[in-house]
């Protein structure tokens, strides 16, 4: 698909909006539908679109396998890390109330952090899975 000028241009035009929308979904999940998981999926899908149009190689230059491995782990570690932080602050595991002076604020912060963790891992996993399938077909 790399030679279709229309696709290339449209993709280029769409990309920022897709990624922006992903971020919106990520951070607006507290108020409307959405959250880390959906945002991760959209972000991953946007990236996959890029890979489809511009070729796997150029996509892999943006996100090399090693970096993806780190990101997959980082999201999960962020989630569990939040849990450990609440433990260290004297609460039960994942008791976000401990993260700030006011329990409700702490909750909000905690939810924000874990949703971020979810988003990162989901996006990275999707892209990894896609790359693995795609590069399998190349030889």
């Amino acid at each position: 698909m790399q030679r279709h000028i229309v696709l290339r241009v449209t993709t280029k035009l769409l990309m920022p909006f897709i990624l922006l929308f992903a971020l919106y979904v990520q951070f607006h999940g507290d108020f409307g539908p959405g959250g880390g998981f959906q945002a991760g999926v959209i972000f991953g899908a946007g990236f996959i679109l890029y890979a489809l149009v511009y070729g796997i190689e150029s996509a892999q230059r943006v996100a090399p396998a090693g970096a993806l491995r780190v990101l997959i782990s980082a999201g999960l570690l962020l989630y569990i890390g939040t849990g450990f932080a609440t433990l260290a602050l004297g609460g039960n595991f994942l008791d976000y109330g401990m993260l700030a002076h006011e329990p409700a604020r702490g909750q909000h912060l905690g939810i924000f952090l874990v949703e971020l963790g979810v988003g990162v891992t989901v996006a990275a996993t999707m892209v990894t899975v896609f790359f693995n399938f795609a590069s399998r077909g190349q030889d």
């Binding site: 507290d30 108020f31 539908p33 959250g35 909750q107 979810v118 989901v122 996993t125 990894t128 399938f133």
Partner: protein, 180 residues
Amino acid sequence: MLLSFLAVLAIGILRLRNLFAVVMLSGIYSLLSAGLFVVLDAVDVAFTEAAVGGGIATVLMLGTLALTTDREKAPKPGRLQILPLLCVVATGALLIYGTLDMPVYGDPAAQIHQHVAPRYLADAERETSVPNVVTAILASYRGFDTMGELAVIFTAGIGVILLLGRPRKRRGGPSGGQDE
């Protein structure tokens, strides 16, 4: 109405042997059920189902088809599959039997809406300062479930890396191809 559409799709999936069409139909199935979820007030779920079922799962299956084949072999003629049919009918009958004592659809007085759920609706905003109750439960009240869910994704990710990764080395992969 939507439900009957779904039923038609499901039967189509059962009958068709062109796997490409089957995968497409299953994508549509997911999108339609996402529509149904909106009708049933589950907007978060609808969003996710559309993105995941209609999006990722379909892409994955198409990728699989590209690497394998898109035709299903015709089943052997004259061989009725009685055992699976019996299994399914028995399970279905059991479920229908189970529905007989279920609360009527949408009944607000049903037990399910009385015990645990009201507390979330009443207190979630005050306790977590998040107005989307689904997010509040997902990330806080049942945050540990979500951590487990993230671990499941993580597992799938490393599973795919283990199974499909590094095709350059060793033809047929590290664990395939050698008979005995």
